[in-house]
């Protein structure tokens, strides 16, 4: 796994130029807010924020924002040097979605966002327990965590209730902050890939693929189209077992133990076939940096197809039964509803956003790294409650199974072209029909965007001489967590919490990093 060969074809002559230079950090912040807030509620914003933050690279530390235009797929970079080196205007004041990002930036780099609505430390949660927001007679504060019921990740929640009614909920994360981005700095991309795979274990492929895309772009290296198909296949396999897991947890939260057991079987079978194919049940090592050929899929195709048929039948049968079980549906309908105006205010992503009727999916966006002819039909619903999140995952399962079949048919028939040529032949790059992120980033920078099981995963990095200088990770769940608190307090009672928790299916590790 560690001795990955990288063919880096750096072109010294064509030095890439930084894209646009915003005149000041105030302009930069306004520019981001203008592009990321849609004209109307519950519409897709004109652009997506891929990354916003402070880049400490000497000699010119600066603020950077990376946006992706959703109609053209163009990725735009803007840099700004603040007039006062330790203060920038707050983006969260204009767009709440940036709140946690700015709190983290403030605490880790000391850059203060002026006018931030809720500036509190975020990285050392043990020292700063959240204060209550609600006051009055009958208000009860109920702390939950960081060690919670059953087998779960560590995170803290402060409930404020009146009777059974939840008035307010504050999630507090970053208990598991391991400083992965800082650990990666100075490492070679092959070593950093090991870290990337361990950001969030159940999104191993998503993070590994996003990292590889970013690193390959920074090294100006293009991979073969078959490798892109293969990565897409692993991504779908990951989505399949995650959706099975999330639905099993949801069934268990609603007291449906038979469905839970059966969906857990689906997950286990998928993990086993993953293990058989790659040697790791969580697909560690499946995505290789700078890979020039996929596995030989011809002998692997039929076993995988067989498992897929079997689990698909079981999954469809039991989700169908669940859908026709009134006690289950009753438990879910209207539970943990996301209001329309939160969707754009918090820049939601993934199945949670699609359950609110927002057609956001990195796989379907222009300029995204995807194999030719690989169409994703967006699966959206409109109510934004736990039932819709259930339905969206069921729909996505079907889409994913279709995509895996299609990709398998292609990978299983195509003889990998580069097979005989071996690894030394660098002359075959770039392959004729590999599609790449179409914007040219500044020199040494790379960006990777991938639709993981929980939504958009984005890695931004800067490299010189095959060492990482700067690395930023934005997992899908970090966009959704602030809304989770709001949705739980949206007219629900305490016993709804497990159902809402399971229906969101968020990752702590991917947010804490």
């Amino acid at each position: 796994m560690a001795n990955v060969q990288i063919h880096c074809s750096r072109n010294e002559k064509s030095e890439r130029v930084p894209v646009e230079q915003a005149s000041s950090s105030a302009d930069l912040v306004t520019w981001v807010a203008q592009h990321c807030l849609p004209a109307q509620e519950n519409q897709l914003a004109p652009s997506q924020l891929l990354y916003y933050g402070w880049v400490p690279i000497p000699p010119h530390p600066h603020l950077v924002a990376v946006l992706k235009d959703l109609t053209t797929g163009r990725v735009e970079w803007q840099f700004a040097q603040p007039t006062r080196a330790d203060k920038v205007p707050s983006l969260a004041a204009l767009w709440p979605a940036a709140s946690w990002t700015e709190r983290e930036m403030w605490q880790s780099t000391g850059i203060e966002p002026i006018g931030h609505p809720d500036l509190r430390p975020i990285l050392n949660p043990g020292e700063y327990l959240p204060e209550g927001m609600a006051t009055g007679s009958g208000v009860f504060r109920f702390p939950l965590g960081p060690v919670r019921a059953d087998v779960s990740e560590s995170g803290f929640f402060l409930f404020e209730t009146i009777g059974e009614q939840i008035m307010h909920l504050q999630p507090q994360l970053f208990y598991k902050h391991r400083g992965i981005e800082a650990l990666g700095v100075g490492k070679s991309p092959a070593d950093a890939l090991l870290l990337a795979e361990r950001i969030s274990g159940t999104a191993t492929v998503a993070h590994a693929t996003a990292f590889c895309q970013a690193a390959e772009q920074a090294m100006q290296h293009t991979v073969a189209p078959q490798v892109i198909w293969e990565r897409a296949l692993w991504l779908e396999m990951e989505r399949l077992y995650n959706h099975a897991h999330d639905l099993a947890q949801l069934a268990s939260a609603a007291g449906m133990s038979v469905a839970q057991a059966q969906l857990a079987r689906v997950k286990e079978e998928l993990l086993r076939i993953n293990g058989d194919l790659t040697g790791s049940r969580y697909l560690r090592g499946a995505v290789k940096l700078g890979a020039d050929r996929p596995l030989d899929w011809r002998p692997l195709r039929d076993p995988l197809m067989g498992v897929l048929e079997r689990v698909d039948r079981r999954f469809t049968h039991f989700t169908d039964l669940l859908r026709h079980t009134p006690t289950f549906v009753d438990r879910l309908v209207g539970t943990g509803r996301i209001r329309k105006n939160w969707v754009s205010a918090y820049g939601l992503v993934g199945p949670v956003a699609r359950a609110c009727g927002l057609a956001v999916d990195s796989r379907a966006e222009p300029g995204c790294w995807q194999p030719d002819g690989y169409h994703i039909c967006l699966s959206t619903r409109g109510e934004g409650d736990a039932l819709d999140r259930f339905e969206v995952r069921v729909l996505e399962w079907q889409v994913s199974v279709g995509v895996v079949r299609k990709l398998l048919a292609r990978l299983g028939h195509d003889t990998p072209e580069t097979k005989e040529t071996g690894t030394e032949k660098q002359g075959t790059y770039p392959p004729p029909n590999a599609r790449h992120n179409n914007a040219t980033p500044p020199s040494g920078w790379g960006i990777g965007v991938v639709e993981g099981p929980r939504g958009r995963v984005c890695h931004v990095l800067q490299m010189t001489d095959l060492r990482l200088n700067d690395w930023h990770i934005k997992g899908a769940s970090s966009w959704i967590w602030p809304v989770f608190g709001l949705a739980v307090a949206n007219g629900n009672i305490q016993t709804d919490f497990p159902v809402i928790d399971a229906s969101f299916g968020l990752s702590y590790a991917g947010t804490d990093r």
């Binding site: 391991r178 992965i180 969580y282």
Partner: protein, 163 residues
């Protein structure tokens, strides 16, 4: 009970029998397990959770998850110990009644794995609390975790006889 063939890893039947006999001897067939995550990537949790799926179904061996450390005989710890979770791990351990067993799950818990040099990490699990058994792997399979639980119980059984 199982409708599918059992996994072909190791000698499952023998492990199952040894586990069942040992557990009956030491715990009278009811081992209560509490899990704590002290900075893992979530794959270890996923594998621990798999123990309760119909393929491994560790309930039939008399092992159960419990929500409260006060009811727990055995603590499964996964992940590197991060700064804020060190106190939490200690508090959880202290809350458990004696005799208590600790099984460290995954290479993170063993020696820190890829995160060992992070300034946010305070150390391995055994630098905070005594550990009875280690289960290597990233993540270890459910089968290995079950074996880890068994080793811890057997180890403690030896200690009990000595005393």
């Amino acid at each position: 009970m199982l409708t599918e063939a059992r996994p072909l890893i190791g000698d499952w039947n023998q492990l199952e029998q040894t586990t069942a006999t040992t557990l009956r001897k030491v715990f009278h067939r009811s081992v209560y397990v509490r899990h704590i995550d002290v900075g893992s990537c979530n794959a270890c949790e996923s594998e621990i959770l798999s123990l309760s799926n119909p393929y491994y179904n560790f309930h039939r061996l008399g092992v159960f998850f419990t929500s409260s450390p006060r009811h727990a005989d055995l603590l499964l710890v996964s992940g590197v110990v991060t700064r804020p979770l060190k106190e939490v791990l200690l508090a959880t351990y202290e809350a458990m009644p004696k005799p208590r067993l600790v099984v460290a799950i995954g290479v993170c818990a063993l020696h820190g794995g890829v995160f060992h040099s992070s300034p946010w990490v305070v150390g391995t699990v055994d630098s905070v609390i005594p550990v009875d058994a280690w289960v290597p792997g990233c993540p270890p399979t459910p089968f290995a975790i079950l074996q880890g639980i068994l080793s811890a119980v057997q180890h403690r059984q030896g200690v009990c006889l000595d005393e």
